[in-house]
Symmetry: C2
Subunit: 465 residues, 2 copies
């Protein structure tokens, strides 16, 4: 474990310098969603270039896309050894409402060993750690144990609209053995987690149309279908009272949890009672026969995200509205296919179409679920690296959410994806007072550095998905 | 029928004068909902006073209320004869959107024998006809065949918030044998109608609360109840697929239609196919075993008037909303009681409360249903007066809507209410380009004049409800 001791020594010496450098990065208001920050996006990309150069990465370039640019750099001199593709993003969320920030979002400030700034946790802080891990290894031995490629994009917070095209067009340049992403959270304070799967997403908007205009409920009520009743009847048919989805064939391709996975989740000792209190609900509610973690990580959902029609102001308006609408999304798990599920939703709607109205269905964007097998060496290796630094068992988790670009990596590059994040769910990413716990910054640098040695020990063949 | 010929002669001679006078009334923008028109409300009340005086009414007064004033006048010298209480309103609806009016709303203009102005049909034009009918009889014979009292209010378009109190406090002053109101519509062009019943109204708002804040559907979806699903499940339980209301005891006190009523409605030859095309729905939809007119006039309803929760903007937002809400109203028929129905709704909600959320119920204002028996002499007399002038059979109808103040008259003064209106449903009351068909103005003056003689022939005893 000599390399870990060396890394430890190095990061201790450099801590102040590193924090000052990270603050430079955080001071750039690279908000991808707001066009007035276009110049800041360029500035952040240039800051990365300079940082890549300093770390010893080569072939560093700012690659233009139809949106904000991608920054690339690599080091490919570990002949015969595996190649790690590191993905992250340098763009950040908007900062509204500004008045709720205790310190300005682009003036980083450390309070109570937490670094407060927009992007501190999501994702500049974590991107920075990867760069510094490379720099550390290069400074210490002039080389890396494995090959690396960095792909840091500027549009993650706006849905990565141009990245899939970039990946497709640069498939050879991006070829690697595994992909590592640090943009997810740990299981809790001091509890490292490797995330090996994410749910996919698909959805539809349902629009129900009755009469050509709103009708007076006195004059017409009782003799004409009410689009709100129609949509309620239709929506009620999607699930039973216990939350099981009643769409024919919905569960057909759901990959069952393995015994190992169920045991791993069980071992996390997730406190359902604490969650209940935290979000303040009278009871948790989900598919029978599954724990909360199983329900949210490994089971698909069908949720109404929005429902609208008629009068929503104060008091009463006796209207039979002309239209009603609902937005529905499904979280999908391996091996459900978003296109197939949409077809099943449509068939269900056709079958349960209420009388006296017309129903229109519009598809939303789709994202595939992703999974790297639980027992894949790159997953288990990440767990070991965490354990060497944190000295507690690593949680092997899945994410209930969807990161569409991860599914795109999975699909286009056909590589195992390792999500090893250092954030905490309490760190207000996307909200005022975003911050990053610096103990995870410190420990994470060491974990990442160690992971390069862990991966060095596998052949490219062993890492195949 | 000498009196009808005399009236005819008189109204012909006075037509231009009458129209000019009505235009004066219509030029006053007496919009009760907008405080900037407070002075106009006073001006309209004063216009009525002057008009009452000119007609020969006595004891004319502007009676203050907590809102806009009531205008009262009477003529009580037909000793031993019945007394008719005429109710109407001098306030009008707002005029937005102004740009959709073909001529300014408060500059009356006759086009194609229709008088265009806000209030032309609802209700200034019809109030004016009652005043002129009295004036005609007074001018011709110096007296009226019956006693009359006029009660014209200024807050009908804002829900008559102060009138019930006024009626209660002036019960003796308003004592009469029947109440006549011209504020409803005819059955169609050239087709007079006497309306002898109206539905009542009651309702509740249902609010469903899940977690204390919106939740991410990826992180929590599948393990927490979604308030939108909860409310959909609850709302779906209120009706079956055929529109029959599933609330226990809901139909208990519904007064069944008599054979005479069903035959009378059937005889109207209502064209359901034409309605379907007019409002542009694929099919009509209502309680089995009842015609459209029966469904909307004599059967109760339960309708969702508004439904809201989650995201309603463009595209997708993967949220499990913290809250969802619905507004429900019921149209009630005799002898349903609004308070009892609300209790039944609450019991239903309690029984069908979905798991994992809290449900709150808030009551809306209530209005009782009203009915004057179909065969009451004052109803049948109104029908005869119409027939003498229109020369076609009168339709005996009910209204599907609710006029809360009518139920209040019914309840407080315990008098038979006769709704004899001269408007047409196509006359855009409450909308731009409100107008009044002048043939109904002309014929209506004669109908009202004749009705005084019709009522003269009954004893006060015969008119008891």
């Amino acid at each position: 474990m000599a390399h870990l001791e060396q890394l430890d020594q190095y990061f201790k010496e450099q801590r102040d310098t590193h924090l000052e450098e990270l603050n430079e990065f955080l001071r750039i208001p690279s908000i991808s969603a707001l066009s007035e920050h276009k110049a800041d996006m360029q500035k952040a990309a240039e800051w990365l270039v300079q940082s890549f150069d300093a770390a010893g990465l080569e072939n560093v370039s700012i690659d233009e896309t139809d949106g904000h640019p991608v920054v690339y750099g690599d080091w490919l001199h570990a002949e015969g050894k595996p190649t790690i593709l590191v993905y992250g993003h340098y763009d950040v969320q908007p900062v509204d409402p500004l008045e709720l920030w205790d310190s300005p979002p682009f003036e980083p400030e450390v309070r109570d060993n937490k670094l407060f700034a927009r992007g501190a946790s999501d994702d500049k802080g974590q991107v920075f750690m990867h760069i510094k891990a490379v720099e550390a290894l290069m400074k210490q031995s002039g080389k890396l144990p494995v090959n690396v490629k960095f792909l840091i994009e500027g549009e993650e917070e706006v849905g990565s609209p141009n990245l899939e095209k970039y990946i497709r067009e640069n498939k050879d340049k991006l070829a690697a053995d595994i992909i590592v992403i640090s943009d997810t959270g740990m299981q809790g304070p001091g509890q490292p987690a490797v995330c090996y799967g994410l749910r996919g997403l698909t959805g539809v908007q349902i629009d129900v149309k009755g009469a050509k205009g709103d009708l007076h409920s006195g004059l017409y009520g009782g003799g004409v279908q009410n689009p709100l009743h129609a949509i309620v009847e239709l929506l009620a048919s999607f699930r039973d009272k216990e939350g099981t989805i009643a769409v024919e064939g919905f569960y057909d391709n759901v990959r069952e949890l393995t015994e190992e996975e169920r045991a791993a989740y069980e071992a996390l000792g997730f406190d359902e009672e604490a969650l209940k209190e935290e979000i303040d609900v009278p009871a948790l509610f989900g598919e029978k026969g599954f724990s909360y973690l199983e329900q949210t990580w490994a089971r698909p959902t069908l949720e109404i995200n929005g429902l609208f029609g008629g009068f929503s102001g104060e008091g009463i308006k006796t209207v039979l509205p002309s239209e009603a609408g609902a937005k529905i999304t499904c979280r999908l798990v391996p091996d459900q296919d978003p296109d197939e599920i949409v077809e099943k939703l449509k068939a269900h709607i056709e079958k349960h179409k209420p009388a006296g109205v017309t129903v229109t269905v519009t598809e939303f964007d789709k994202g595939k679920p992703f999974i790297t097998p639980f027992d894949h060496p790159a997953i288990q290796a990440a767990g070991r690296s965490y354990e060497k630094v944190y000295h507690v068992p690593t949680a092997y988790t899945r994410g209930g959410g969807s990161i569409p670009i991860v599914a795109a990596f999975d699909e286009i590059l056909e590589l195992p994806v390792v999500l090893m994040g250092f954030g905490l769910s309490t760190e207000n990413f996307h909200a005022p007072n975003e911050h990053f716990h610096l103990e995870n910054f410190d420990q994470g640098l060491r974990v990442i550095g160690d992971y390069y040695y862990e991966i060095e020990s596998f052949s490219k063949e062993e890492l195949k998905k």
